[in-house]
């Protein structure tokens, strides 16, 4: 059964220039015990999506349309009080910056205990102490240090305390927003391993939001690639990273060096994402896609279902034989606008047929 179903979700921010369409028609579902990674660059809407799910959108943000169903109930219809009851107990969040998420004037124990007692009234001191000790051991912290204040912890310890807190009530859904971005590689590796282990134990589902495709490749079952507020591609991790069916995924995966493949050329995606106050017609990636045709600029792509994944590229069906060889070549991505226009006329096969 699906723990979380997001359907045609639109989240807008009110600005002076008009609404910014930060999340635009995004749909996906998350099964029990499954990990879904949401990747994309800054401004693609991934954090907005997470905030909408947990219900902490800033004042200017609102859900314009669509549903977020948790265990069948629509979160967007709930009152604040109803949502508050779900927090920690059912849905919890591991934020990027642990220093800003922990209260500096309370000890770590007080903060975890407060969350436990708020949701499980009648929990005794002895029992909550046991939970804190157990959680600290799970994340690899010394339980004797639970009475320390956040500033007495190092960055890695704070992040682990944050994780202990997020998992203390064994929620069925954990949202992790860049959970390890601020950490060194060794600490990142340890924390990811521990989170996965605990998760298996309490059988929770997790939404991992990150810009780092490697983190997703190592921790998730499925991945959703977002670009400019929309889904570019979605499917099982193996399929998406081995055989992507969207040029943006190819570019994103190869935009940064891979320690195991030193000879691989880097792909440099030219330009910047579009403004979302007035998003372009057609495919949102068209302007930066070296293989875009006139059709890409004019017509919005529909979902193509291939190999168990869905790709929102007009030419997803032709990716294997025509686009991927070109997209894998770093030279393709270096093309200037002029050269691109020329290629378009030279390849009528890629036109609107």
């Amino acid at each position: 059964m699906s723990v979380l179903e997001v359907e045609n979700l639109e989240v807008y921010y009110e600005t002076e220039e008009g609404p910014v369409q930060a999340v635009d028609d995004v749909s996906f579902s998350l099964e029990e015990g499954e990990n879904l990674g949401i990747v994309g660059e800054s401004g693609c809407g991934k954090t907005t999506l997470a905030k909408a799910i947990i219900g902490i959108l800033p004042d200017a943000g609102y859900v314009n349309r669509g549903q977020i169903r948790f265990d069948g109930d629509d979160l967007t219809e709930m009152t604040d009080a109803q949502r508050r009851r779900l927090k920690w107990e059912e849905i919890s969040m591991i934020a990027q910056s642990a220093m800003n998420s922990l209260d500096p004037v309370y000890t770590i124990r007080e903060q975890i205990t407060e969350a436990i007692e708020a949701h499980r009234p009648g929990t005794g001191r002895v029992e909550s102490t046991e939970i804190v000790t157990e959680m600290f051991e799970l994340v690899g912290l010394d339980p004797d240090r639970a009475d320390d204040y956040p500033h007495q912890f190092s960055g890695g310890m704070r992040q682990r305390a944050m994780i202990a807190m997020a998992l203390a009530l064994e929620p069925s859904l954990v949202l992790a927003d860049e959970p390890t971005t601020a950490l060194d590689v060794i600490m990142q590796d340890q924390i990811l391993k521990r989170v996965n282990r605990i998760q298996e134990e309490i059988n929770s589902s997790m939404l991992v939001i990150t810009h780092d495709v490697s983190v997703v490749a190592e921790t998730c079952d499925r991945v959703l690639v977002m670009y400019a507020g929309k889904v570019a591609e979605e499917g099982p991790v193996e399929e998406i990273f081995n055989q992507p069916y969207h040029p943006y995924t190819i570019g994103l995966k190869r935009a940064f060096p891979n320690i195991r493949m030193p000879d691989q050329d880097l792909l440099s995606i030219r330009g910047y994402p579009p403004e979302l106050v007035d998003p372009p017609e057609g495919c949102r990636f068209a302007e930066r896609c070296p293989m875009a045709t006139n059709r890409c600029y004019e017509e919005e792509p529909e979902a193509h279902h291939i190999n168990g994944l869905r790709s929102y590229c007009h030419y997803a069906d032709k990716i294997d034989e025509e686009l991927r060889p070109r997209a894998d070549d770093a030279e393709t991505w270096k093309q200037t606008e002029a050269a691109r226009a020329q290629t378009q006329t030279q390849q009528p096969g890629m036109g609107d047929d």
């Binding site: 590689v185 490697s214 880097l266 030219r270």
Partner: protein
């Protein structure tokens, strides 16, 4: 391949940089009364390496390992506490004012955060022209234009009157690169040059840095915690831990066949975007130790999965060539670990023997050494 003295641009010898711990005026007052010694952070604690002409060297390690302090000392943004840096075989501690001016002209730095490293009140033109004015170099406009064009800020004139806040992160970092290049330097220290940039923009800036190294024949020292990036950009790597270099050598050798237990752990922890590639995952215990009250012997011993006893506690492992690591180009690799046999005749067990408290352990070490010799 061997490098003669002429190939060496910078030689760093036993560099040390310690920072006094600021405990507030009451503590320092009490200290001055009681005559106590202040505490020091041993940020960099005896680091030696050389930078050859036209090569790219990577300094890697976790936060707090001293890599940034080392980099800043290289361009004289820090005055070293001990040791020395030689530039073109001239010791920087001995050069006169003119010599130092020449050095400063040839040593440039690119910082991590282009949002903080550019003066928000200076236009792009002034930012790039400032070093020329300081060093009194003529032909300002032509040089600024050329530097901006090289950094792919085209057309250059369009950027002259813009302020940093009008530019994107990628463009700002390109301005910082243009500013570093405008003086035609010999070498550049680049501290995490792309870590603040969005993923899709990183490849473009990295390509620019690569082109810069090739076209100008520059030596570049890259400082990063990201081994994937360093593997892509660097000829040689030096891995740092708690203010010391633990392993140094050709990038391919260090990444593919790491020898120091810390290097092994560090490389194992790097995630890869290939779901099929399984990694051998060794879990390292604890966290980076205290660089104020530095432990005796090897600094990695408390977390080391290969800890072999008193020699690790008693003797500081020197960074040296080892005789029992086999493979191509191994003569270029140096490791600071007692697991391997010194190729330079250094005997750490003798050091432990000399210390009365560890005499017993020394005997054990002797036995082990004897069996290893067989």
């Amino acid at each position: 391949m061997s490098f003669g003295r002429d190939d060496v641009l910078l030689r760093v010898e036993n560099l040390e940089k310690h920072f006094e711990v600021d405990e507030g005026w009451i503590a320092s007052l009490l200290q001055s009364v009681s005559g106590g010694e202040p505490d020091y952070v041993h940020a960099v604690d005896g680091v030696s390496f050389e930078v050859r002409r036209g090569e790219t060297l990577g300094l890697a390690g976790e936060s707090g390992c001293g890599k940034t302090t080392t980099g800043m000392s290289l361009v004289k943004l820090h005055e070293p506490t001990g040791g020395d840096i030689s530039y073109n075989d001239k010791r920087l501690s001995e050069v006169d004012k003119a010599g130092m001016a020449e050095f400063r002209q040839n040593a440039q730095m690119i910082f991590q955060d282009p949002f903080e490293s550019l003066n928000p009140r200076m236009t792009v033109y002034d930012t790039v022209a400032e070093p020329l004015r300081i060093h009194d170099i003529r032909n300002e406009t032509a040089r600024v234009q050329r530097a901006l064009e090289f950094a792919e800020l085209l057309p250059a004139e369009q950027y002259y009157d813009q302020y940093p806040h009008e530019l994107s992160g990628g463009q700002r970092q390109r301005v910082a690169i243009a500013r570093a290049l405008v003086l035609d330097p010999d070498f550049i220290v680049a501290d995490e040059p792309v870590s603040m940039l969005d993923v899709s923009l990183r490849a473009g800036v990295l390509a620019l840095l690569e082109r810069m190294t090739e076209e100008f024949g520059l030596s570049v020292v890259y400082i990063s915690h990201d081994l994937s990036l360093l593997r892509h950009m660097c000829d040689r790597l030096a891995i740092m831990y708690m203010g010391k270099i633990v392993e140094k050598g050709p990038t391919d050798r260090v990444i593919e066949n790491p020898q120091h237990p810390y290097t092994q752990a560090l490389i194992n922890a790097v995630p890869v975007p290939e779901p099929d590639i399984g990694r051998e995952r060794v879990e390292l215990q604890g966290e980076v130790g205290d660089v104020i009250d530095v432990p005796s012997g090897c600094r990695f011993k408390d977390r080391c999965p290969e800890y072999i006893g008193d020699v690790c506690d008693g003797a500081i492992p020197p960074l040296e060539r080892k005789s029992d690591i086999e493979g191509e180009r191994e003569h270029e690799r140096e490791v600071a670990c007692h697991l391997y046999e010194s190729a330079e005749g250094h005997d750490p067990y003798a050091e432990v023997d000399g210390d009365g408290t560890a005499a017993e352990a020394g005997a054990g070490g002797d036995a082990e050494r004897a069996s290893a010799d067989d």
